[in-house]
Amino acid sequence: MLAHDPLMKVLYVDLSRRTFEIRHRPELFESYLGGVGAGIKLLEEECPAGCDPLGADNPIVFAVGPLTALFPLASKTVAVFKSPHTGNLGESHCGGRSAVAIRLAGYGAIVIRGKSEMPVYLSIEGDKVTFRDASSIWGLRMDSTGRVIREREKGAGFRTIMRIGRAGERLVSYASVATETYRHFGRLGLGAVFGSKKLKAIVITGRGEVPVSNLKEYRALYDEIYDQAVSSPVMKKYHDLGTAENVIPLQRFGGLPTRNLLEARFEHAEGISGENFAEHYLGRRLACSHCPVGCIHIAALREPYEDEPYFYKTSMISYDYEPIFALGSMLGIGDAAGFLRLMDRVEAWGMDAMSTGVILAWATEAQEKGLISERETLGLRFTWGDPLPYIEACRLIVEQPNDFYRTLAHGVEEAGRIYGNLEGALAYGKNEMPGYHTGPGSHLGYLIGLRHSHLDSAGYSVDQKTLTERKVEPEELVEMLIAEEEWRQVLSSLVVCFFARGIYLPEIVKRSLALCGYVWDEGAIKGIGREVYREKYRFKVREGFDIERERLPGRIFTTPSPVQSFDEIYMRRAVKHWREVMGRGV
């Protein structure tokens, strides 16, 4: 790291005492770069073993990295915390303006400790931190909260506004935190941690500078990366149709989870395809700060008011592949407008779209099987393809008027254990599955991935690229997934968006780091990925994680996979091997 790089500064905010301090932690960023690397070390320091995720002891750590604000697509913030959803490691990434704002506010990381007695929001600008009473916005929807703060605070264009909706306040364990309306710390319940701390929002304004070792070389490398970002075929899909482009290929492949994964092909996939959204709904495209790609796709939905002629409302609603799977095919919804209406509600309440969809899909199947009745659902009849009962169910999950909805507010694992249909409760490590049923690689990736997410190791990619060509033994598959997940620890320590993984190859990472004063060879860079991966694992073990006790949802074996078939024995062999590999490093 270069001398005077503000990356080394960590802002500690204590909500209980309403105090803050800034500490210089060069050793942390020298050794672990930033992002998840520095974040997991800070979490280990700050989070007492066995703490209550919704208690004052649970810290929230936001971390950015050396490449943030220097290079294009290095625009993600990593949040780490103990997850109220899984009771273990919570790690969630978000773009928008968050990363650049934190870095240019002069910080490498921000740690939030304690708990406020009354609703507050934080305003951070440079070395000034203000605690503001948020009582008058407590209870507001996610977007309205953003609007109020946007109008009240200065710094338009240079700031991020992180905020929660009602789901976070009501401690729904998969509540999200949104920034800039359309980007999220979506997974693993950071929104509930905010809610437990009575923290409605954080606005961070940054317009400072960061150093670089050689301006001439910096400009040259910048151009190299920028040119690839705007012209390389590896980025094309993100800026054209966006991630929604995945719908049709996955449908053709037979890996699109449909109706709670009772099927893996959806006859109405066309309706919720990237192509259909682009043709009929795409209203605007947006980008994160310092990313020329602009993958964020916003649909314009025009709806009439039924009770009043000549009155319409036009809503701007973001769509991406994962929400489309979860709130679309997984619920049998193949009508784009229906999906958008549901998506809009999920956003307003501030819930993780993926978890919400998977939970509602389980509930639909459970009701079909007679495991729950309208007594539990309070009169709702869930029907594949009908968005209206799902929209109402979101409200009930947030309000939690009875035991059933209280259970749904804690995830599908608990719901399956209490009401049955456990084989159709599609969660790994209590985190609801993402949208790929492409073969053993995807499911094994969710199981062993330390976030239980598709972004851990891209198992779906191994399925589609390698397993279509040849049969892979579980041991080899495990090693491929570990190698990918280890490399992703490097990307998320820098912090680079995973969509740019085709640009930030080891050689480019090495050269860009050198300009930030890290003279590391490729071996050292990969070594840090390995180490961070194991640090995360150690944290998980400390908090009670045991891979042998993890449940595999039965449904994944009964719905045919498009590539080689796999069974519980295959998966257990893989788990055994994973444990051996991990045991060597712990």
Binding site: L104, E180, S289, M316
Partner: protein, 138 residues
């Protein structure tokens, strides 16, 4: 030639132009940027690109008490740093808010129409135009 905002509605808000402006001046970040991109009341409503539009008879130069802003033949103004006393009249006179402020030096930061940022606009929002051409956008 002068810098022009050709099609604001195509702006995705990536702010690559802001980073480019700072980079051209030897900085990394946005603090030196003479161009600003911000949403017009939330991302859902799109963006505004704020930069000097090289007016014919620039009010910033007219109000400068020390004649520190010289009107360039090609359009725009040139800041004569040693004459500037940092009074901020120029900033107040610019209705579109295109005069950014260097809080460290206490001096205005004004676009010099070099066109460096144009190369980093991925969607053709920015372009160079001859003096006197009608703006297509804002």
């Amino acid at each position: 030639m002068r810098l022009a905002v050709l099609e604001t509605e195509k702006c995705v808000g990536c702010q690559s132009c802001m980073f480019a402006c700072a980079r051209r001046q030897g900085g990394v970040g946005v603090s030196k940027s003479c161009i600003a991109v911000r949403s017009i009341g939330g991302m859902e409503r799109g963006f505004t690109v704020i930069v000097c539009r090289a007016c014919e008879d620039p009010p910033c130069a007219k109000v400068c008490p020390t004649r520190a802003l010289e009107v360039r033949k090609e359009g725009g103004v040139k800041l004569l740093m040693d004459r500037c006393i940092g009074c901020g009249y120029c900033r107040d006179a610019c209705l579109i808010g295109a005069i950014q402020w260097d809080t460290y030096l206490n001096k205005p930061m004004i676009c010099i129409h070099c066109g460096y940022c144009v190369k980093y606009c991925p969607h053709g929002v920015l372009g160079m135009q001859k003096k006197g051409a009608t703006y297509a956008g804002t």
